[in-house]
Assembly symmetry: C2
Homo-oligomer: 477 residues x 2
């Protein structure tokens, strides 16, 4: 398989597009900018869905579903919001054979329609907080698309909450940023950097936007989830009002937060290598693949019987697949499953059966070094342990890579060199206009102002003014 | 609560619309024909989703995701299909601010776009069968809408499979009809009648359509799931071809099958009563609600402590809610949870704590008769047992109701009387035109030709000709 993949160092972007298709994660569709998520890719998304959904419910959220269509006039109620989203809209103008009186926008995000409903549902402080999440498809008309990373239609979850106080809404915004960070680090093994967006990068209509930023293997940044404190902007635009405990009319404070199928791209570009995908065990659709091996035909029955038995046994505690395909060699199967990023492979042949052991091969450590012979009796312990080891190990590897590619720089020349390789961390006190100039000059943007700050003061890399915060710059997807 | 609900016998349709909103299942949206599925209703849908999805995976299917938009020309490739769906389409004509060269249809169903992809994926008999399901939203422009039963946008799953042989595709079609029947009967407690659709009622583009038909409490029929054998119609329209084992080019045989959020409406109208919803325990978002009771304030601490303890204990094996709301009476809470259809209520007061027992009240048997005092020690057994009893009991009740309202009739006069009350089962050998005339004259249609046939022969109720099959007629939602 590997020889059909462009090596990462040669053309990372080409490697990405190839592996997404070869590993059956997604395919192009006949609809401009829209992709088909194939079963293997969709199962990965189901795992992401499941793990996020569990965390949302654990933090008191419930799911609901709001309409796909939004009356065009709704978008116009929040000035920054409409400015941000107008260029990206798909618009339905015909319904049931007739021209519509008011065109319907296919939701690019649902603050407006949900704001309208919240205004209807919220009367008193007793109705708050509203803690609702929606799993849905959204559409943003994109000119340059890329499988999973930027598509006209994508799947996501969008949380929308309304609160009685400013502080409670801020706490919610940060809580969900933490949920995303926890998910990214502990499930996807992606060492994201949580931080605040700069003024020019924040969500259209937000007071403050937070983000988790990940570094891909080519040193570029991928925004992997966002959480927005919307202040009273949408409450005022949609009239979400309540009577407080003193019987006074107040506007609610709202938040929104989302993670999309883009996360699949993040997993691919954080862990993949020249052999293909490397999936984190906690999210992998298949955690263990059993490859039966025999040389002579008379060994086949014995091996397949043992393999089936093993499969039935493992099914109880891991997501396992038995590759019983005929007509292809074990070696071909190894390559195929390596390409698909299955974390652990079990090789099972006549000698293993004789010795009551199996060969375990780790996807994250290629060749001999990643292989261990373990007794068949202990697999209930060995396999979960080894999956946990792989999970921790690929996280560590990604973190080492990231840390090695973030440079603290103090001159613009160093800055320019740093962002060719990865991220630049700099003292920052610039304006929106300064950001725009840097973007023009270097293609780098502020990925975030990290929550974790060194403290103290420094000189802004661009303006030379005194700065109290550091920012992380990088080129982004 | 109950006094605010229109009694079913007075106006069933009004009762339905009221309870769907009062029980927080759904709300109207500002978008014509589109509803908002509220958290309680969505959780019920999540349970339906979960139970269906498990069955799909157990029968070898995987999930994937195809684009929301379909090029308009695709619809035209299958003649009957375009005729059936054209009047119901929502059409996107503007994208990213520009008029589109080819308008995009918002999917009303996905045979066409999936057919296009399958043609790309299938080359050889080794690529078959393709067994894919999709969970998605679809849009059909409806003139007269009704919460859950008929909305412009709805959620559903649509399975699409492709096979090498006709027989395999027929087997798949019937297998999925069985899966739906099993789900309806054993999860939703709805005694559906599986059968074949008549020529005039079948899916646009199908060779044969199968359906599960349910009888609502007003005697009307609700089509609750369909499974279609598409023959080679879509394979020919989209060029899904493969090389068979003899190296000859063949068209594939395809199927499609779907269940939608309409199922929520079926649950409501099969089991609900004048007090509100009656939810089947297996699908109920909340299976057990604990209502703590105290008269004097000094009892409060003791009762709440016991209630919290009980809650923590039950959480391990049932979906339980502790109603700790202040400022409303236990009686008010009883009514509220009855209205929401929670199968089992636990009343817990100081005397129960003293006696180490609890009062269990069944939603499906109102008043004293449905109450039992059970020892607190045995709840791990008692509760699951009682939930199973309720599940079986509401299924039986629905089945008795249905059977009492299906009449075998032999004259058109009897027929007309029967369909005022429920279903008419009749010998049938009529044509499409005969069906149309009966519909004009009585508003009744063939709901299905049941799979279970009496055998033998009879006289067609309409034409008097010899008939070998019985059909079930009814007025339908």
């Amino acid at each position: 398989m590997a020889e059909f993949l462009t090596p990462q160092h040669e053309d990372f972007s080409k490697w990405y597009t190839e592996i997404v298709q070869k590993a059956d994660l997604a395919d192009y569709s006949p609809v401009r900018g829209c992709m088909v998520i194939k079963p293997y890719g969709y199962t990965l998304w189901e795992r992401i869905h499941e793990e996020l959904d569990r965390r949302f419910k654990d933090t008191g959220h419930v799911n609901a579903y709001f309409p796909l269509f939004i009356p065009e006039s709704f978008l116009h109620k929040e000035a920054e919001h409409v400015e941000g989203f107008s260029p990206e809209l798909a618009v339905v103008t015909i319904g049931g054979g007739n021209q519509l009186e008011e065109p319907l926008v296919v939701r690019p995000t649902s603050e407006t329609i949900i704001g309208h409903m919240y205004a209807k549902w919220v009367q008193s402080y007793r109705d708050l907080p509203l803690l609702i999440n929606q799993w849905a498809n959204v559409v943003r008309w994109e000119m340059r698309t890329r499988l999973f990373l930027r598509t006209t239609e994508f799947l996501w979850q969008e949380g929308h909450t309304a609160h009685a106080t400013r502080q409670e809404a801020i706490d919610e915004t940060l809580q969900m940023l933490n949920v995303y960070t926890d998910f990214a680090v502990n499930e996807a093994a992606i060492p994201v950097i949580p931080g605040r967006k700069s003024e020019s990068e924040k969500f259209a209509g937000a007071v403050t936007s937070y983000t988790i930023e990940a570094m891909m293997k080519d040193g570029k940044a991928l925004q992997s989830g966002t959480s927005h404190f919307l202040g009273q902007n949408f409450a005022k635009a949609f009239d979400i009002k309540f009577l407080d405990e003193n019987n006074e009319q107040q506007f609610a404070w709202t938040t929104s937060w989302g993670v999309s199928t883009r996360m699949v791209g993040a997993v691919v570009m954080t862990h993949g290598d020249d052999q293909g995908l490397v999936l984190p065990p906690r999210l992998a659709p298949i955690q263990v693949v059993i490859v039966p091996i025999w040389r002579k035909d008379d060994q086949r029955t014995e091996v397949m019987e043992a393999a089936n038995k093993l499969y039935a046994r493992l099914k109880g505690f891991v997501r396992v697949k038995l590759d019983d395909r005929e007509g292809v060699s074990p070696g071909w199967k190894y390559n195929d499953w390596e390409m698909r990023g299955v974390p652990l492979r079990i090789e099972l042949g006549p000698r293993d059966i004789e010795k009551q052991s199996v060969m375990l091969a780790r996807r994250d450590i290629p060749g001999r070094e990643g292989k261990t012979i373990v007794p068949m009796a202990n697999l209930e312990e060995t396999i979960p342990e080894m999956l946990a080891t792989i999970q921790a190990s690929i996280l560590q590897k990604a973190q080492d890579y990231r840390d090695a590619n973030i440079q603290d720089v103090t001159t613009y020349a160093e800055f320019k060199a740093a962002i060719e390789q990865g991220f630049a961390r700099v003292w920052w006190a610039g304006s929106r206009e300064d950001e725009a100039r840097i973007k023009d000059e270097t293609k780098a943007t502020i990925r975030c102002i990290p929550l974790e700050q060194p403290g103290g003061k420094g000189r802004c890399i661009y303006t030379g003014q005194e700065a109290t915060e550091v920012a992380i710059f990088g080129k982004a997807y």
